[in-house]
Every structure is written in C-alpha cells, then in structure tokens.
C-alpha cells in the first residue's frame, strides 16, 4: 500500500526531477529516464539506491527524470523528495574539503550570487575567479522551492568545487518562516560565511549568532562561522554601526540597493543619488567597527562601462568590493578595485621619500617641493598593500 509521496528537483540541464512513493513492502523500484541514459543510466540508478539505503528507506517506488545531473545533485534531490514524502531523517552532509580557518580580512572585491536551486550555474562557478561565491536561499528562490533548495545547498557545500573562493550562504531572515530551518540545514555543512539579509538591529545578528553557536556545538565544528550582515532598509542604515559591532563574527557590512530604494519608495537610478548617503553611512559604520564594507550589485549585465564606473565610485567611497550577478562582471570589478599604475607609482615615490628622509635623519619628508605628512604616507602604504593583494606588486618590490 502506498503511504506517502514526495517530489523534488527541476526539469532543467544538470538537474533532475524525482518522485518518491514510500511503501510498506515490495523493495525498491527505481525507474530512470535520462538524457544520458545510454552512458550513465546504471550510475544514476546506483546513486539513487545508495541514497535511499543511507536514508533507511527499503520500500519505495521512485521515478527519475534526469538531464545530466551529477551524483551529488541526485543525492540531494532524492533526500528532498523523501523528506517531502514525510521521511524524517536526512543524509549526512558530504565530507567536503575541510574548512580552513576563516580569514576575516581576505580580499572580497567580488561576491558572485548563485541561485541555490540551480546546480547548472554552480558547477563551474569556481572557475571565474570571484573572491566569494554566494549560494542563495533567499530572493532568487521561490517559496515552494525553499525546502529542496536548502537541501541542495547543503550537499553543494560538501561536494562542489569552490577553488579559492570563500563559501558563503545567504539565508532567509529569521523573521520569515524559512530562516531557522535554513540554519538547521546549513550550519552543519560548514560554509565559511553567512550572508544575513535585511539586518535592522544588533538583535538580528545576536539572534542568528545564538542559533549558529548551538548548531556548531552540536555538529562539533571548531572554526566559527563568519557573518556578513546585509543592510537594505532605512532602519538598517540608521543602525549600521550597532549592527557592525554586534557579536564577534562580523567581517563586512554589505549594502543592498534594490530593497533599500523599495523601502524608501523611490526609483532606483543609474546615478544612485538616492542611496549615496546610505552607502556612505555603511562605509563609515564598517570602518569604525574595523570590518570591510561591500557595495550593492550593478544589475545591467551588458553595461560594462556602467559597471566599471559604479565600481570605481564604490572604491572611491571606501568600499572594499561589490556584489556581482554574472561572471562577466568579475574582471571589470577587480580591475576597478585595483590601484592604477599612476597611483602605485606615486605611492612608491612617497614611501621611498620617507625611507630616504629617515636614512638621512631628516625630520621633515618632502617630495619635490611638497611636504609629505603622516596621513599621506599611510594612504600610500595602503595603496601599495592593495596593489600587492591584487598580485600587481611582487613581494620583492616591497618598499
């Protein structure tokens, strides 16, 4: 007798649709239909069987409609369909690469958003050189998909190649029905960083921190998960410093222009005057708290010139990076956040003049006819640091 049925997945490239009917008897009956059936039909069936056995399901009727999904995607979709059918246990997060101790101050020029529901976009994402990859559970995922998506993201964290990119998950706000379940599913799979949307107060951060600490203890994780609060409301902007200094895990404040302009009830323009003050306040709050500030995304993927201008402005304003929504945006943003050859040359001259003045025992440093004071030197040193971080200056060129 058929008791419970569940479905999960999508009829898309690199994905599959799974339908499971959990039965009382009769063993496992698995039907596979696949675009790669001639070459991977047996492998697909074997992956499904293994996942069902690990879940402890011994009697079920399963139909799979596959379009070239990899094994970890098959496992994630089987788990989601089984749980949608009322099965209570899940699969253990796959043992992915051990998380290295998180570096709070690493380069974060680009953070690429990937819909957490779309394995096809995830598979090669590490090849494009983004500093951070965000597997999104929030805005890019429709409510009926949330459930299967967080399970897919859990498996992705263990099985997907991230290269040298930081592994970030954007959860839903705790104020929605999804936030707590996101954490329960995701924390054990040990991403590097959580992107926490719609932060409006210190309490928002502390609430996530409390849940995360408990889940980390339960999973036996030793490296603490880092936080990246995303500020995208007027209230959030006014509380930016309070948010930045809440708890011990924050590494960057991010700004989200789309929700912010909606909150204000104004149009989002290309010039962005409507959020200029908000962005400045976020930079000030972040820097005062000693963490990074990361700017919003530029939503016109075709407009490279606009993107470059927007990234240059963000850097001039004090931001450390920008959100990106397509890999083609990565290179222009990295270039924009890299100091120009002129800036580097000038900085090198200033630092050299300082070294020379010190060597000659002079109290006053000058370059040409200009006096150089301490902040100028400090800024020059920061530019050289950034150039080195971008790989433009080798260590031997350190002055």
């Amino acid at each position: 007798m058929e008791t419970l049925t569940g479905r999960a997945g999508r009829d898309e490239k690199s994905d599959l649709l799974v339908e499971i009917g959990i039965l009382d008897q009769g063993g496992l009956e698995i039907q596979v239909n696949s675009s790669v059936k001639a070459l991977y039909g047996k492998a697909i069936k074997a992956a499904a069987e293994t996942a069902l056995q690990e879940l402890g399901i011994r009697h079920a009727r399963v139909t799979i409609h596959d379009r070239g999904a990899l094994d970890w995607v098959i496992r994630a979709r089987i788990e989601a369909a089984a749980r949608a059918a009322g099965h209570k246990t899940g699969l253990k997060p796959p043992a992915g690469a051990l998380r290295s101790p998180a570096d709070k101050n690493r380069l974060r020029r680009t953070r690429l958003y990937l819909p957490g529901s779309n394995p096809d976009l995830m598979l090669n994402a590490h090849l494009f050189g983004a500093d951070c990859l965000i597997l999104d559970l929030e805005d890019s995922v429709a409510p009926p998909e949330k459930y299967a998506t967080r399970i897919l993201v859990k498996h992705a964290l263990g099985a997907l190649e991230f290269g040298s990119s930081e592994r970030i998950v954007r959860i839903n706000p705790l104020s929605t029905p999804y936030g707590v379940e996101d954490l329960e599913e995701i924390v054990g799979a040990a991403p590097d960083t959580l992107l926490i949307p719609k932060c409006e107060s210190a309490a928002d951060i502390l609430a996530v921190e409390e849940l995360v600490a408990a889940l980390e203890a339960k999973a036996g994780l030793t490296h603490p998960l880092l936080f990246m609060p995303l500020i995208e409301t007027a209230r959030g902007v006014l509380h930016a410093y309070e948010i930045a200094t809440a708890g011990k895990r924050n590494i960057a404040l991010c700004f989200g222009a789309e929700d912010f302009t909606a909150d204000l009830g104004v149009e989002r323009t290309v010039e962005g005057k409507e959020h200029y003050v908000a962005r400045s306040m976020i930079v000030l709050a972040a820097k005062a708290a000693g963490i990074q500030a990361i700017d919003t995304v530029y939503s016109d993927v075709q407009d490279v010139e606009g993107l470059t201008a927007s990234a240059r402005e963000a850097m001039a304003q004090g931001f450390d990076g920008k959100g990106v929504i397509h890999p083609s945006q990565i290179k222009p943003v990295h270039e924009a956040f890299c100091p120009s050859p002129e800036q580097i040359e000038k900085a090198q001259k200033i630092v050299a003049a300082l070294a020379e003045a010190k060597a000659r025992g002079l109290g006053v440093v000058s370059l040409g006819t200009k006096m150089i004071d301490a902040p100028v030197v400090a800024r020059a040193q920061k530019i050289l640091e950034r150039a080195r971080a971008h790989g433009i200056l080798g260590e031997e060129e350190k002055i």
Binding site: K13, S14, S35, V36, K37, A38, L39, Y40, G41, K42, A43, R67, G68, A69, L70, D71, L123, N124, L127, F128, H326, P327, S328
Partner: protein, 516 residues
C-alpha cells in the same frame, strides 16, 4: 566485408559500395596525389536557350533514372528550400536507389529520413546530421554512407571517386546563361564555393534561382559555361533561416571563459605577433567570442592579420573594417553582415574548397593558415578528435571543414570539458574524424592541454598564467566530476565510413543498438 587496421588502429573496410578504398596511414602520408577526372564536354552549338519552365522540365531534360547521384550545396543552410523541392518531385516519380551527395544537410531536411527508409534514397555521400544521421545509425540506409570534409568532397569529385549525375545549384542571383552568384537577390547567402566542384564535374548542371537578371550576372561564382539548364522558382529559401542561430556571442560564462583562454593562448604564445598572422574561426558561440577577444588583443598589440578565414560573421567584418585584418578569405557567410561585406568590400574574398582545402592540389591555403580554432564532441589522450558521433554512439554531425582546417600550423580545439555530465576528454574517442597529429592544443574551461608533439608551443608559454595541464589531467578532472560512462553497443555492420581528406578511410561507424 573485408576489413583492415589503419595507422590509428581502427578497423576499416577495404571496399565501400563496390569501390576499393585504402586505409588511413597518416595526415600527410599520401604524397602521390590523384588522377584528375576528365568527363566528356559538349559543344557550345547545342546551347542556346537554357531557360526551362520549371523543375519538372529540368528533371525530364536531365533524364534522371533510378540509382543516379544527385547533388546540392548548403549555402542556404537551414533556410534551403531546394533539396526538399527536388527530392519530393523525384519521389513523386517513384524513383529509387538514388544517391544524395549534399555538401551538408540541416534540420530543415529531416524529412529525407522517410525517403531513406522507403529506399528511394539508398545512401548519402557527403554530410548529414540530426534525423538523417539517426536513420543511418539505425542501419536504415541500403548502402554505406560516406562522410567527407569540404576539401575531401572537392577532391572526391575531382579525382572521380564520386561521380555526380545531376547537380542542382540553388543560386540567389543568376542570368539565363547560368552565370550565378550568392551575393545579390532576396535569398543572398554569400559565397557559392561549395557548388564549384559540382558545376565542374557533374554530367548535368541545373542552376535554380529566384532572382533572374539580364546577362551578364557578375560576379559569377558559378560560370555559365558549366551550366546545362536554368530554372526560375518563386523562392529558393527563407532568408531569415539562411543566417540564424549561430550569430550571437554566447552568454554562457563557461563558453566565454574557453574563448578567452583560447585568445590568450594565441597572444601569450607569441603566435599573434609572429610575422604573417592569420586565423580561422567559424560560427557558434565560442568561436564568435574568440574572434571578439582576439580582436581586442590584436588592437592592443597593434597587430594586423594577413587574413582571417571565415565562415564570415559580423565580428570578422568588424576586423576588416577596423583595419585588424587585410583580408577575409570566406568559404561561407553565417550572417547578413558577412553577405553584405562580401558583396561590397574589395578585400572580402570568396573562396571555394579547391583553393582553401583540397589536398590533391599544388597546395591549398589551409597550410598557410597560422591558427585554426575548431569545436569537437570528443578528444582522446592521443589528441584524436571526433566531431561525427556522440559518446552514446549516434551519428549526428557531418565533418564540415574540420579535417581541412586542422591542417593549419596550429590547430586548437575549444570545447567544454563536461557537457551535461558527458566528459569530452576520454581515453579513446568513439569515432576518429581527425588524427591527433593534426591537433595541437585543447582548450577547456578547466585547463589547456598542449600536444606533447608540440613542445615548442609549451616553451613559448613559459611564465604564462594560463592553466596549462597534461591532457591526462583533463581526462581525470572530467572523470572525477561525471564518473566513468558505460559504452554504447554496436553491431558489426558498418553503416558509414569517415573518409579522410586524401580519400583514405580513417574510421568506420557501426550500426547502433539503442539503449532501451
């Protein structure tokens, strides 16, 4: 069928449809050349009014009988009307055992599969794809299909390996004497070079046009002195489909990355700044992006190519108009900018497979070409390339100009390492289209492999940040992602042979036992 092992270890037949053939022995092992085929030539006195009322009159005049070889060109691509028009008329006459010798077929010709199944068409010599390839894989052709490259097809007609009884040449512009070109008229498609051999070597040549002009139709890509009859029809094709599908640069991040790696390889290896730079790239998302990236790198370095080899596209036309190349040597146009430029620009030159690709010549310019960028469905550890069959065994593509363009000084394959789980780099390709000795570089999103035979290319890349990897490593990455594939099941029956450009048999395709 008697079989023999060729120099790549592939078992190939020694006889195809009653004609004895030699096994492939190496890309340049054939130093003997061929015999130039000489047919009869009539006297001009017989030719006054070549204009016939319609296609039926032409079929009557050519006295088409069972078993004849009928040919077409593919410059109208997926917009072509003529193949279907003529074949339906031949079918209505109850003809059978015809051999179709198109330079290529497109999805619009899928209906031919029914005529293959009915026995009206015994087999195809030249090129096929999609549903016709499937019919061939399933053993539905009475005789063995022969797949040839563009240069190989010219050679086969020139040497007399394939004799065409009647050639139907779709002509966007023609006069009543039979002079024809592809650059004028409502169905303008660019060059007509693929039809040159047909016009020279077929017994009967019928020019079919929807745009008849007063004599002389010039430029004359097809010369009236080779033409028997001229027929005017309402329309030879759908212009919106003649140029379509492949004209947009890909937005796939993976494909853009592959194109960028390929362009950087050409630049950072110094090939771009060597004297007499030239390259070939076709249509398709990766190729178009490659041309765009290449243009940017050439512009920055102040490089002007001697020539670029089309399939012409808007991006190649931009290069010509912006002074980044002296010439476009064009085999076919992929978009309307290509057609316009060929018509209007004095240094956009129409070519045919004889000057560009034919192996039995006193030299063709594929050997002068510096860099060739080509796609593939499989590559193996010996750098052998398959463009004909998929990994699941189906015969789905023709050769195009692949084996000919692979004769360039540096031949680069661009392909995603994994396509919907299917690994592209394998221990052994399902079918060999081109031997590894012609393939120098494989560019994938996971890294670039250089053929160990080309150590000097690796030496040129010392200090480059490009992800250079042994081909075995690419194979391992693909296997780790996808797992090992099962093998397709074939019977022993050879349903098609892959003929190399010199006329030798490089591989055979066997009948597929489809997965249930």
């Amino acid at each position: 069928m008697s079989m023999v092992k060729n120099s790549l270890g592939r078992m190939v037949p020694t006889e195809v449809n009653g004609r004895s053939v030699r096994p492939f022995m190496g890309a340049h092992a054939d130093t003997g050349g061929g015999m130039r085929y000489g047919g009869s030539i009539p006297a001009a006195a017989r030719y006054r009014n070549k204009l016939l009322t319609d296609l039926d009159a032409a079929i009557d005049a050519c006295a088409i009988r069972d078993g004849m070889v009928i040919s077409f060109h593919h410059h109208l691509r997926n917009g072509d009307f003529l193949v279907n028009l003529v074949v339906e008329k031949l079918a209505a006459r109850g003809l059978k055992d015809l051999v179709l010798a198109p330079s290529a077929l497109f999805p619009v010709h899928g209906g031919l599969a029914d005529h293959i199944e009915s026995g009206m068409i015994s087999h195809i010599e030249g090129s096929m794809n999609g549903p016709i390839g499937r019919a061939c894989s399933l053993g539905k052709m009475k005789k063995t299909a022969v797949l040839r490259s563009h240069g190989g097809r010219y050679r086969a007609l020139q040497d007399g390996d394939l004799h065409i009884d009647v050639a139907f040449i779709a002509a966007p512009c023609a006069d009543s004497h039979g002079n024809a070109n592809g650059v004028n008229g409502p169905s303008a498609c660019g060059p007509l070079g693929f039809a040159l051999a047909d016009s020279l070597f077929a017994d009967k040549v019928v020019v079919v046009t929807d745009h008849l002009v007063d004599f002389p139709c010039h430029p004359w890509s097809i010369e009236g002195g080779n033409v028997d009859y001229v027929v005017v029809v309402d329309s030879i094709g759908d212009p919106s489909q003649i140029v379509s599908g492949t004209t947009q640069i890909t937005r796939s991040p993976t494909r853009l990355l592959i194109a960028e790696y390929a362009a950087r390889f050409v630049s950072e290896s110094g090939l771009m700044t060597d004297p007499h730079f030239s390259f070939q790239a076709g249509a398709g998302g990766v190729s178009l992006a490659f041309v765009k990236y290449m243009s940017e790198l050439m512009h920055e370095a102040g490089v002007v190519a001697d020539f670029v080899r089309g399939g012409s596209t808007r991006y190649m036309v931009d290069m010509l108009e912006n002074g980044l190349t002296r010439y476009i040597l064009d085999g076919q146009s992929f978009d309307l900018d290509g057609v316009r430029s060929l018509r209007d620009h004095p240094r956009h030159i129409e070519t045919n497979p004889f000057v560009s690709y034919d192996y039995h010549t006193k030299g063709c310019f594929a050997r002068i070409l510096k860099v060739s960028v080509l796609g593939a469905t499989e590559i193996d550890l010996d750098f052998n390339v398959n463009v004909n069959t998929h990994s699941d065994g189906w015969l789905l593509h023709g050769i195009g100009g692949f084996t000919d363009a692979a004769d360039a000084q540096v031949t680069m394959i661009t392909a995603p390492l994994v396509r919907s789980r299917l690994p592209i780099v394998l221990d052994r390709v399902t079918t060999v289209t081109a031997p590894g000795e012609m393939i120098d570089v494989v560019v994938t999103e996971y890294g670039i492999a250089v053929n160990p035979r080309r150590q000097e290319l690796l030496d040129r890349l010392k200090g480059s940040t490009l992800p250079l990897k042994p081909i075995e490593e690419l194979r391992d990455i693909a296997l780790k992602l996808s797992g090992a594939p099962e093998k397709p099941v074939f019977t022993d029956r050879v349903v098609a042979v892959i003929e190399f450009r010199d006329g030798t048999i490089i591989d055979a395709v066997r009948e597929l036992v489809p997965a249930e």
